[in-house]
């Protein structure tokens, strides 16, 4: 009952945010630059939340998320540009093919843990990028022309669906099972959890939404190139999750918003932006390795706030 109240509050807030931004875009108060920034924020939140499922919830350290973003971007571009199908189809197909790529990466990676897994996912992402680089059908290194189809409405609807799916997954026996894999894989196995299944599921769902983000991403530019999906893009996504707090969805959302705004303002100074990013990464790891919010969610803070001192666990 309490959970469903939270859900409706979320929906109302989402509709309000959407309506206000849409209003300003429609009546021209907000120019192209700002509306693009909002679309970018939505895309980055989708990426952050989808990687949060893999790293934060299931504890599988994937640092090659840009690979799935690339799959979604290219596949969706093929669907709209080459097959002349509607954008909505492109988004879904992009997500599904990315999920398939997630399965292909996830299954062999299951034997790996921690930093070895990280390196393998980085390698997979790079292989994906090199594959696109070598396919003339999608333009090779020169890239591929894509129409500008992404609107604030598309971006926002995808964002809301992503968050609902991942929150609903997390707050269920499946989410608890995934967290148990993160917390102690051996014990999780001993409790009858099919750890393999949940790792692969996390990879597939996470990749699906990365693919969706890819579709929005490619149709927000006029051209996509393999060089947009290298290590740096993966690290960009990683930093959202790490800064926000490994295991905190709202942390990932907040840091995606914050860092997107920061990097938009630093667009003209890319090296300053990267220096700030890298310093943030280092300082957070050295002084607050669990990220800004740890595994806490925003709603937990409200709870603490309502029960003074946060000591009384029963006072709901």
């Amino acid at each position: 009952m309490k959970k469903s109240k939270q859900f409706w509050l979320f929906i109302i807030a989402a509709v309000l945010v959407y309506a206000v931004v849409q209003f300003f875009i429609a009546n021209g108060t907000m120019n192209q630059f700002y509306s693009n920034t909002f679309i970018f924020i939505a895309i980055n939140i989708i990426l952050a939340v989808s990687l949060h499922l893999v790293i934060g919830i299931t504890g599988q350290f994937s640092i090659g998320h840009a690979g799935f973003l690339a799959v979604g971007a290219y596949i969706s571009a093929i669907v709209t540009m080459k097959l002349d199908l509607p954008f909505i189809v492109a988004i879904i197909v992009g997500g599904m093919v990315a999920a398939l790529a997630g399965l292909i990466v996830g299954i062999p990676s299951l034997r790996l843990k921690g930093d070895y897994l990280a390196i393998a996912t980085l390698g997979f992402a790079e292989i994906i990028r090199i594959v696109f680089l070598n396919i003339d059908y999608v333009g090779g290194a020169a890239g591929m022309q894509v129409s500008h189809l992404t609107t604030w409405t598309y971006a926002f609807v995808c964002l809301v669906i992503t968050i609902i799916v991942i929150v609903n997954f997390t707050n269920s026996r499946h989410g608890i099972a995934a967290i148990s894999v993160r917390e102690n894989e051996i014990a999780s196995d001993a409790m009858g959890i099919n750890t393999t299944y949940y790792k692969v599921a996390a990879f597939a769902i996470g990749s699906f939404f990365a693919g969706v983000a890819g579709a929005l991403y490619s149709h927000n530019f006029y051209i996509i190139q393999p060089s947009q999906f290298g290590f740096l893009k993966s690290f960009d996504i990683l930093i959202f999750v790490v800064l926000g707090g490994l295991g905190s969805l709202s942390g990932a959302v907040l840091s995606a918003i914050l860092l997107t705004v920061v990097s938009t303002y630093l667009q003209g100074y890319p090296e300053t932006r990267m220096i700030i990013y890298s310093l943030v990464l280092i300082l957070v790891m050295l002084y607050r390795p669990k990220g800004l919010m740890g595994t806490m969610e925003i709603t937990d803070y409200f709870k603490l706030w309502r029960t003074p001192k946060g000591g009384d666990q029963h006072g709901k």
């Binding site: 997954f169 026996r173 099972a177 967290i179 917390e183 051996i186 196995d189 001993a190 409790m191 009858g192």
Partner: protein, 262 residues
């Protein structure tokens, strides 16, 4: 059916590299027994547990549970067959609440699918409610109810041990394997724990295999005892028989002398 053992280990063993960690392990547990597995440090007790639960695949021999071969099954499948365990070094899900720790064990008994949870279908709510009710009931039995919203890592040590046993039981086992459940507990806690083990054994009609260092405890509660040394069975018998078994005395005295030197 009456005579058929619940668990039968036949000549099981495992090698790591060239090293035989456990060999010729033969254990028979009948329904409802409480049996101890003892031995000096490094004798292969925990390795034996790992063989039984599928963490290690035996390189020789067979393990039969309810007459069915279970060696080679993955741990989660062994658990679903009805063997669950605790760990020597507590392995709780630290960042989950006490309630959620127990819920994890119920996972394989619940049926609502991932899709129904994502779409929040009625089966999700029903399934989650049932899991929560069962988990709460368990916490009540173990007097852990008041901690239900506490993170597992914040529990006092003795309560963590209790929670681990509660979690193992929630998985619905016929056979419970306890790896040094009293390690690090004071005499009062140990006493309470033993009462608890006796109680759950009655209530859930369990068969229990127990690794323990505390000799008084093992001798006090177990009906039968297996003694391991250097990866091999040294003796088997009632507490009385084991107490007077020359080889056992030798193995333990040997260890004590060794300890004094070290």
């Amino acid at each position: 059916m009456e005579n058929k053992p619940l668990l039968e280990v036949k000549n099981a063993g495992i090698q790591f590299g060239g090293l035989k960690a456990v060999q010729n392990l033969n254990i028979k547990l009948n329904q409802g027994e409480l049996v101890g597995l003892i031995g000096p440090n490094g004798a292969g007790k925990t390795t034996s547990f790992n063989l039984l639960t599928g963490v290690y695949v035996p390189t020789e021999g067979d393990i039969l549970f309810n007459g069915e071969r279970i060696n080679g099954l993955q741990p989660f499948k062994v658990t679903r067959k009805g063997i669950s365990r605790t760990f020597q070094n507590i392995r709780l899900f630290n960042e989950l609440t006490v309630l959620d720790n127990v819920k994890v064990a119920y996972h394989s008994l619940a049926t609502h699918t991932m899709l129904s949870s994502i779409l929040r279908l009625p089966s999700h709510f029903k399934g989650e409610r049932e899991m929560e009710e069962k988990a709460l009931e368990f916490l009540r039995i173990f007097k852990l109810e008041k901690y239900k919203d506490e993170l597992a890592k914040n529990l006092p040590y003795g309560q963590q041990r209790r929670l681990e046993i509660a979690r193992a039981l929630a998985a619905g086992p016929q056979l419970l394997l306890l790896d040094e459940p009293a390690a690090g507990m004071n005499p009062q806690e140990t006493h309470d724990l033993m009462n608890l083990i006796g109680f759950v054994r009655e209530k859930f009609d369990l068969t229990i295999l127990l690794i323990e260092h505390d000799m008084n405890l093992v001798m006090g509660v177990c009906e039968r005892i297996y003694v391991l040394d250097h990866g091999q069975l040294l003796a088997e018998g009632s507490p009385e028989e084991i107490r007077n078994h020359p080889k056992v005395i030798e193995a333990y005295l040997g260890e004590e002398v060794h300890d004094d030197n070290a």
